[in-house]
Point group: C2
Chain length 123, copies 2
Amino acid sequence: MRYAYNVYEDRCPTRLVLDRLADKWALLILDRLEDGPVRFNHLRRDIKAISQKVLSQTLKKLERDGLVTRTVYPTVPVTVEYALTPLGRALAETAAALTHWAEHNMDAILAAQAAYDAAVMER
Amino acid sequence: MRYAYNVYEDRCPTRLVLDRLADKWALLILDRLEDGPVRFNHLRRDIKAISQKVLSQTLKKLERDGLVTRTVYPTVPVTVEYALTPLGRALAETAAALTHWAEHNMDAILAAQAAYDAAVMER
DNA sequence: AAACATGGTTTCCAATGGATACTGAGGAGA
DNA sequence: TCTCCTCAGTATCCATTGGAAACCATGTTT
C-alpha cells in the first residue's frame, strides 16, 4: 500500500473527500476558477442553471476544505471574490481532465447510449 | 472553442455525462475495474458500504454509456462479469487521478477543515 | 417611488439514496 | 430431507438531498 488512506474502505476520510469532489457543481466551479478569481454572481451566470442555494453551499464546502478562498471587499454593493488556493489549483487541474474528457468523448457516449437503447427496445 | 460541446452550458449533453461521472460510486467502480473483469458480488465486497441497489443501478448506467460490458456465464449459480470497454479504460485512468488525489492530499484537507471549524467556533 | 445591483438565506416540493427484505435456482452440509 | 449458503439482482420504504422560487438588507439609479 502506497498511502495511509484507502478510498475503498468505508469510514476512510478519503470517502468524504471523494463525496465532495464527485459533485458536478464542485467540478464546474473549480474549473471555472482556474483562470483567476471570480465573483459570486459572475459564477452564477457562467455556470448555467446552477441555483444560488447550491452555489452558496458548494462554495462553503470548498472553502472549508481549503480549496478556495473567499474575500470580501467593502464596496457598495459588497463584492465577494472566490479564488483557488494552491491546493485547489492542483485539484482543478485534475478535475479539468474529467470535464474535458466529457466534452471530448461526448460523441462516443451518445452513440453507445443510442445502441444500448435500441437493443433494449427490440429485446 | 476547441470542442463542439461546452460543459458550462445548460442542456449540453456533456452535462449529462458529467452528472454520471461526478458520482462517487461510478468513480470507485471504474477504478476497481482497471485491473480486469470483476463479478457483481466481488465488487460489492471490495467497495465497502455500497448497497446492492446502487451498485446495480450504477453498473447499468455505465453499461448504457458504453463504459463497461456485462457478460453472463451460464454457470451454476450464474456468473456475471463486468469489464471496462476501451472507452471506459480511458476514463478510468482520468478518474483514478481523482481518487488517488483524494488519498494523496487527505492530510492537507483535514488540516484545512480543522482550521476552518476552529475559526468558525471562535467567531 | 420603483427597479436594479450586490451576495446570499429560507421555504417548499420532487427526486434521489441507502437500508432492508425478498426472489429463485442450485449445491453443500447436517 | 431440511436448512443454509451462493449467485445476481428487485422491491419497498423512509430520510436526505436538490432545485425552483421567494425573500432579505443595503444602496444606486431612473
